[in-house]
Symmetry: C2
Subunit: 318 residues, 2 copies
């Protein structure tokens, strides 16, 4: 059986492809093939992975990714938050219209395709009762969060109508992402660990006393694979899950870096506050109630020192 | 100055046109003209009202409604709940895509147009903490509610970005609507009062012990006009308001009918439960917290007997 991963060239998409192939089955059926659908080819060298290279906001590109035996779509592709804020129309096309086109493609195949949608804590705005849970209203303060929240509603309605078998994961900020900084407002949260560990300077653009809601790459990949495997009969009618995370102040993250890699590492961080990034990051809730997700068997990180060490290990293995 | 009302041929749209012209000004500026945009002409005979007759899901029809001096759009046009449930694609086009086209038309005029969007309690699903308030997550159990909730998110983002000056009113079920039954799942709530008062039979398709969240036509019109006049500086960042309503069991509504019009009237109601209507109506929350709306100066009904009497009076004046 065949699985499509949009954003398969990206860090999460490529790791999810590898994870699903290693897992070998989905709902008791063998996974023989994964198609990555992204602007670039999937970087993983495995003959069971092929790449459709193109823009997901073009429905004909989407059609090329489907096969007769497609049983699942993992929709991870998106324009990140700062980019969607700067380019409203492009954000709508990629983050919302393309999601709708993908849902339509699944609906018209009529196979009740499993549809995993990666949403974000950015659907929530400030001023809500804490901790947040699945019953808290999304009141996004960014166009990215708006587009994700609109897509969530659509995935839920398509699921309710039986067009697809959807499941929606709202991702915490992922720390430590490998690679280079990107246009996500949250990019600094990985930079302040990753760059100092690599001997480079990093900029912290927000008040270090501010807490953020995070999850490690390993836990996210495990949780996305779990979400795809989950029997949605176990879920409440609404298919939306806030993936578990941990709340940590930026200052505490830097203290972990110091414990793991010494003062030389933390000395590579410069503090230069950026009002545009602050405006977006401060609008995100720093504390969620993990209980619903944990009851469904999702994982959670316990200790930030371990996350820093895991990234060190990842760097050493490259 | 000029105001556009979509759905101006409908019961709410026509009354709102008359109300705004009687009010005479909006934010200190004289209202000289109202354009109704609907599939039929506005039924009100007033030289200050003209009608653009056409389908709002056609952007060129939308363009014809704007004038140089347009300062506000009241977007009331929609396909009702049972209709949107039966015809998914048509519902998406009229309830969501047309809203987006209207927002785009306002954005590209660049005049920070006031945009009043009529949403519905149908954005909420069952199983939420009671009473509901503005911080409760919309988890609609109908495509109509989904399309309204998606449109709300867009109106909020367009407002946040300064493309428009939006305000969103979630309407309770309106009782007593004049006219004939329609395809709204809530249509029975008016029928069981209106038809017996007119000497006709009506069908009650749900369990009479079930409570619904209602508002009279008079109060709704006052509240929509108030929402359009409101200085949005007074609102929280999110522009969404649950309009005030009263919670009443269907049985209590029928007791009011009996008190006002006698046993002959209530004897005209037949009880024939309809599972499709029940499924939609039971998914709606029967109790909201009115405090936020009342703090902004919105009105609320206090007594259902008065609502029955007001409809009797309305019938006598026709």
């Amino acid at each position: 059986m065949h699985i499509i991963i949009t954003g398969g060239a990206g860090f999460l998409g490529a790791r999810l492809a590898a994870k699903l192939l290693a897992q070998g089955t989905l709902a008791g059926q063998p996974i023989s093939h994964v198609t990555s659908l992204d602007l670039a080819p999937c970087p993983i060298d495995d003959e069971r992975i092929d790449s459709v290279v193109g823009d997901i906001s073009d429905p004909s590109v989407i059609e090329r990714a489907f096969r007769e035996d497609t049983i699942a779509v993992c929709h991870l592709a998106a324009i990140v938050s700062s980019h969607a804020e700067a380019e409203f129309d492009e954000g709508m096309q990629v983050n919302f219209d393309a999601t709708r086109s993908l849902l339509e493609a699944c609906r018209h195949r009529g196979d009740h395709i499993r549809f995993l949608f990666s949403s974000s804590l950015a659907v929530f705005g400030p001023g809500m009762p804490s901790p947040l849970n699945e019953q808290t209203a999304p009141q996004p303060r960014s166009s990215y969060g708006t587009q994700k929240a609109m897509s969530e509603l659509l995935v839920n309605d398509y699921s309710r109508r039986g067009f697809i078998d959807g499941r929606i994961c709202r991702l915490p900020t992922i720390v430590v992402r490998p690679g280079r900084p990107n246009r996500a407002a949250s990019s600094f949260a990985s930079s302040i660990i990753r760059e100092p560990l690599g001997g480079e300077e990093a900029i912290c653009p927000i008040d270090p006393e501010f807490a953020i809601w995070i999850c490690s790459p390993e836990t996210i990949i495990n949780n996305l694979a779990h979400a795809l495997s989950l029997d949605t009969e176990r879920m409440e009618v609404c298919r939306t899950i806030n993936l578990p995370g941990m709340s940590i102040e930026v200052r505490e993250m830097i203290e972990s870096l110091e414990r793991v890699a010494g003062n030389d590492a933390s000395a590579r961080i410069r503090y230069e506050r950026d009002p545009q990034i602050e405006a977006i990051v401060y609008s995100w809730a720093p504390l969620f109630d993990n209980r619903y997700a944990l009851s469904l068997g999702f994982d959670v990180d316990e200790n930030f020192d371990d996350i820093v060490r895991a990234h060190q290990h990842h760097m050493a293995s490259q």
